[in-house]
Amino acid sequence: MFRLDADRAVEFCDGLRRRDFLHAGSLPFLGLGLSHFLGWKAQGALDQTKDVNVIMLFLVGGPSQLDTWDMKPDAPAEIRGPFKPVRTNVPGIQISENFPRMAKNADKYALVRSLHHNAAAVHDTGHQMMQTGRLFQGGVEHPHIGCVLSKLRGPKGDVPAHVLLPKPIGNTGGNMPHGQSAGFLGKSYDPFVLNADPSDPNFRVPDMLPPEYLSALRVDRRRNWRAMVDQTVSRFETSQDARLLDSTFHQAYTLMSSARAREAFELSNENEKTRERYGLNRFGQSCLLARRMVEAGVRFVTVNMFETVFDEITWDIHGSKPFSPISCYKDLVGPMFDNAFTSLIEDLHDRRMLDNTMVVAVGEFGRTPKVNPAGGRDHWPACWTSVVAGGGVRGGQVVGSSDEIGANPKDRPVTPAQFAATVYQALGIPLETELPGAQGRPIRVVDHGVEPIHELFS
């Protein structure tokens, strides 16, 4: 198998070296997003001084606010649960003992303890709202924030604007869309999905380079001939899937021809210590890869901590099978998050990237204040906590608070729409920006009147 290695030139039977292939310039860049970008720039619609990236860690399953970042040690035992709070390096902020490394870095992130939503208490609704700002109704699928960014700004260089690691959210019981696509913007703005496990020892992006028996000239000739063959038939112009096929081929060629893109996926270029620090598991290595993606020019990285909530140990601690027990926060899920998240913000901080990279860690809802008979907690959209760092967010602060049992926001309630507005704000996308909806109906990125959490940035 051919190894990805941008630093070494490889000789080919046709005399062209690998580097030649990569830099032959025969694969012109025709980035679809560029024209959009220039168009927007001309209108002055985007704040270009804000070249901010976002890494969104989606905590699939829904972490319990009471066992993570909003402890209630004074509540009765059936409320406060089995874990103890610890002090952090910021006076007055306490979090669960399950996150010892986070506790040493609380000055780098803020906590929003008053998120809540009113939709049905199923995973899928929260997935939609936290990633798009809206609940899907009336047949309208709203776009993921990263896809909106992709539409408005296009890719930066050869890498896709929005990458999703390692796989899209699968079945979580509701049979509804999960808000990880471009929705009404069209599939061309869907994220590039890795579909591989970065913690796999043989990890590589499938088929990123031509096989050794195929020369660069032939790859190029094939591309031209394919365009010639396609040219004669016009009936595909009205088919969205067909147009998308062209776009995916184009993006594939762009990726292939970019040394920078291929290098970004090369996790083995990281030293072993770093890899271990993030955690040698799917989520830990995905977070490390997310950092490399941003370094290579990816604007938005979505990392799904888990793929499903069934038969997998996740944040979804109902306490009975096929879901997870509450103890997994101490044994597995807690440490996994603590290592990956903390390493990520430490690295970004050390590399002076935290100012222009927002890291958001959030689940789809919180969990019932009262521990259920199975010793777990069930779905609770009325109140939960998110962790936000970087991208202009002032660390070491807590926004909003919950009541004495973590059941409802006590002050400064925050809706998913306001949360989305906050991410748009960090990205420098004006909230009145309109997107083309179905039948040309303009749809604002967030509804009129929805405000971001201003105090996060002050």
Partner: protein, 817 residues
């Protein structure tokens, strides 16, 4: 009117019909002093309707019996009959009203009046007190599904403060909802509202509990049920509940409204619709766990010659019903597809294969007028047809080696394949599964139970696979969006609690039998419920008979509303690229079809055919394929470019991954190799989806873990493009020493002949002159001017491989059109 406009109208054949006005509903029975009826003054002109209710002058012939206000709302005064007349723009129409029991003592009823108020005001929705845990210690049943429990909660819990019989206005229920006392849910209604009065008067009258003789809602009706409106028009909807005793009552005020497509129509809380775009939208109505909808449309702004519709070739009933929809929406159908396009499409859709170059030439040369019908008959008898549909039903029944040992998987697969081969009617196919007993080696269908050992899991698969219903939500609580309750869920699941299994003689062999005992408990009631199919008759808990037989009889009854529709939609979607409802495996009542008349006709023809055997799948396929609608061109005209759901053109669709792989094997002459399977096994012949294949993984094949049409994805992705460009699958087929390129050169075929043959094999058509010139020219240019014969041949072969790659990754190849 200008002359030009007249000419235009004459040409487009629109005839000025006289405007007519009618009052809806035409007859009204008001019972008791609190009954009301919203009337509509509905005008019809020029093929569309208009709501004149607000502009009409309303008049009652007998105000001593009933009065009518300016908005068209009728109020009873005294017993007797009256005629209510609406006058507008010179038109007059009327409705007759009969009033009874107007002086009889009246009290509001908890089930019929109070619960609907709580539901409409959102008190018992999932986010508020309808949540599983309630809100602030106050928990109502979700959307009021259990009035008895709600009555208890309101009158007995919380020290009786929620409902105060002594001082009704002091009831917390009223004080909170009107925000006289702080309420987390905000103000739900005002003190001077009807909502307030209903609850206050019910409390004042003693807060009576629900009783067995309470009115029970049987169904809903809506006015107008269908209407063609103008862009931007507003239309009030009126909804009546039909009760078990036959009474009809206007309950519009308490209905939850929602639009299926807000790009076409929006609806407010009061049921007033505004048409915001073109096309058809369904307005869903939810009241007391009953679901219904109105279908409102705005024709597209195109002109259409009526001849387009009257002269459209009608081969069977499908065509007439599709034409009616196009005509209503001003969509002009595309012309019939060419023979070549039809041939390729029919092979791919019915059997998942491409015709060979020879088959193409033969079909194109055939001049008999019925050659398409003959081809369809031949295709339906091919072994590849059997492979294709066996694969499809294996997707449905989740055949895979994940939970089954190889021998078990094969016996399951063979049972499916044998059933397809003999064209076993769909009801028998299902019945065989649910009534079989014995060992899984001899009766492969029994592996269905081995895959789903848990009765709860089994019942979810059953509803999804055979009924097109998603029931999962109701496992833990009432379905928040549908009518299914947790009680119904466990009644249903208990049908499968007596499926016994023990190990057979050899590994992988299981004996399935009906146990005499065993139940599963409702998790909250902690007792078993009588096994009951969805909306079906309960089965005695103590009966010793096999519960599955009871279920099978219900499932396959021609009167089961879901069984036929679930299958028809899957088959229709296979051919037409889009189900009549989408997703394709979702035929629940709240998911309106894009052409309900057509869907109903297909389902009726499938379940109750005028002649022949019911549930004949092959006959259904033949009917669809022979329709003109199926045989339309994929080329759009000015009116139907964006149409995907009314079938006015053939929906271009990407081929399934397995079909693409087999087609690549066929054109290159190099079969795929699947580990553990004989060389020459096609992807469509695999009984298992766990066979390693990077190509199939990239191009999307279902995992067969859960029954969900969404498991099979055909969305293009960068991953697929990368695999097509760089992956070993196609590249190895192209440069195989025994592949097409090598062979064609060995046979000494000319470039021109090769190009023609490749176009026939890959695209099922001859190349055009322009294509011939270009492609042959490129191949010629790629030839080296000098070099040894061997080097020349090598260069030529590489060029040919590259040209084949271009053909086999082109849109024309990857898409069915």
């Amino acid at each position: 009117m200008s002359k030009a406009l007249c000419v235009l109208w004459a040409a487009s054949g629109v005839v000025f019909a006289a405007t007519t006005l009618e009052v809806l509903p035409p007859t009204v029975d008001l019972r008791g002093s609190e009954d009301r009826q919203q009337l509509l003054a509905q005008a019809a002109a020029d093929g569309h309707s208009e709501d004149w209710t607000r502009s009409a002058a309303w008049h009652s012939s007998n105000p001593a019996v009933a009065t009518v206000n300016a908005e068209g709302v009728v109020t009873p005064v005294g017993d007797g009959s009256a005629t209510i007349t609406a006058k507008a723009k010179g038109q007059t129409a009327s409705a007759s009203v009969r009033v009874t029991e107007s002086k009889a003592p009246f009290t509001w009823n908890f089930t019929a009046d109070v619960v609907p108020v709580l539901t409409k005001m959102g008190c018992n929705q999932g986010a508020c007190h309808g949540a599983l845990a309630g809100k602030n210690g106050f928990k109502l049943t979700l959307r009021g599904y259990d009035p008895e429990v709600d009555h208890q909660t309101l009158t007995r819990q919380h020290g009786g403060r929620r409902v105060s019989l002594a001082d009704p206005p002091a009831s917390l229920l009223l004080r909170k909802a009107t925000m006289q006392t702080p309420h987390g849910g905000g103000k739900r209604f005002a003190k001077d509202s009807l909502e307030y009065r209903v609850i206050a008067e019910w409390i004042a009258a003693g807060a009576a509990a629900p009783a067995d003789e309470d009115p029970r809602v049987e169904s809903l009706e809506v006015f107008p049920a269908t209407a063609i409106l103008q862009p931007g028009a507003e239309q009030q909807l009126v909804v009546r509940a039909r009760y078990a005793d036959g009474r009809l009552r206007d309950i519009s005020r308490w209905v939850k409204f929602a639009s299926s497509d807000e790009g076409v129509a929006t609806v407010d809380d009061a049921g007033k619709v505004k048409m915001t775009g073109h096309g058809e939208a369904a307005i869903t109505l939810w009241y007391a766990s009953k679901v219904f909808y109105a279908r409102l449309s705005v024709p597209f702004p195109f002109e259409a010659d009526p001849k387009v519709y009257s002269q459209f070739p009608r081969r069977n009933y499908i065509d007439g019903l599709a034409v009616a929809k196009w005509q209503a929406l001003n969509l002009r159908p595309s012309p019939l597809a060419s023979d070549a396009a039809f041939l390729r499409r029919a092979f791919l859709d019915a059997a998942g294969i491409l015709p060979t170059a020879e088959e193409v030439e033969e079909f194109l040369a055939d001049s008999s007028p019925d050659k398409r019908a003959k081809l369809i008959d031949q295709l339906l008898e091919r072994e590849e047809f059997v492979d294709y549909w066996s694969y499809k039903w294996s997707d449905l029944l989740l055949v895979s080696s994940r939970k089954l040992r190889p021998n078990a998987m094969w016996s399951f697969y063979h049972w499916i394949r044998d059933s397809v081969k003999e064209n076993k009617p769909w009801d028998r196919f299902a019945r065989d599964i649910f009534t079989a007993q014995g060992n899984t080696r001899e009766m492969g269908a029994l592996n269905y139970f081995v895959l789903h050992k848990d009765p709860v899991e089994l019942s979810e698969n059953v509803t999804q696979a055979w009924l097109g219903q998603k029931l999962t939500c109701a496992r833990c609580h009432n379905h928040p969006l549908e009518k299914w309750t947790q009680t119904q869920y466990y009644q249903f699941a208990n049908l499968f609690s007596r499926v016994g299994m023990k190990n057979g003689a050899v590994a992988g062999d299981t004996v399935v039998y009906a146990k005499a005992t065993g139940d599963i408990n409702h998790p909250r009631l902690l007792r078993p419920l009588p096994p009951t199919p969805l909306d079906g008759e309960p089965f005695d808990l103590d009966s010793p008979e096999d519960r599955r037989a009871h279920f099978a009889a219900w499932l396959t009854s021609p009167d089961n509303p879901y069984f036929a529709r679930a299958l028809v939609n899957r088959v229709w979607g296979n051919f037409m690229g889009r189900g009549l409802t989408e997703p394709i495996d979702d035929v629940r009542a709240t998911n309106p079809a894009s052409n309900e008349e057509l869907f109903a006709a297909l389902a009726a023809d499938f379940a109750h055919p005028k002649e022949g055997v019911p549930f004949d799948v092959k006959r259904l396929i033949r009917t669809i394929m022979n329709s003109s609608v199926y045989q339309l061109s994929a080329d759009a005209n000015a009116t139907n470019q964006h149409d995907t759901q009314y079938y006015s053109k053939y929906n271009v669709k990407r081929l399934p991954g397995e079909v693409i792989l087999d087609a690549m094997s066929q054109v290159t002459g190099v079969p795929s190799r699947f580990g553990g399977y004989a060389v020459g096994t096609r992807a469509m012949q695999l009984p298992d989806v766990r066979v390693a294949s990077p190509f199939l993984s990239a191009f999307g094949r279902p995992d067969r873990i859960i029954c969900d049409a969404g498991e099979r994805s055909s969305e293009p992705s960068i991953t697929q493009a990368l695999h097509a460009i760089n992956g070993d699958t196609l590249n190895r087929k192209l440069n195989d020493p025994n592949g097409y390129a090598a062979l064609a050169l060995k046979l000494g075929m000319s470039d021109a002949r090769i190009v023609e043959h490749l176009y026939l094999a890959a695209f099922s058509r001859y190349p055009t002159e322009a294509e011939r010139t270009k492609v042959v020219g490129e191949l010629r240019n790629a030839r080296p001017a000098s070099g040894t014969a061997e080097a020349q041949r090598d260069t030529r072969q590489k060029a040919l491989e590259d040209m084949m790659w271009a053909l086999l990754t082109s849109k024309e190849f990857l898409f069915n059109q």
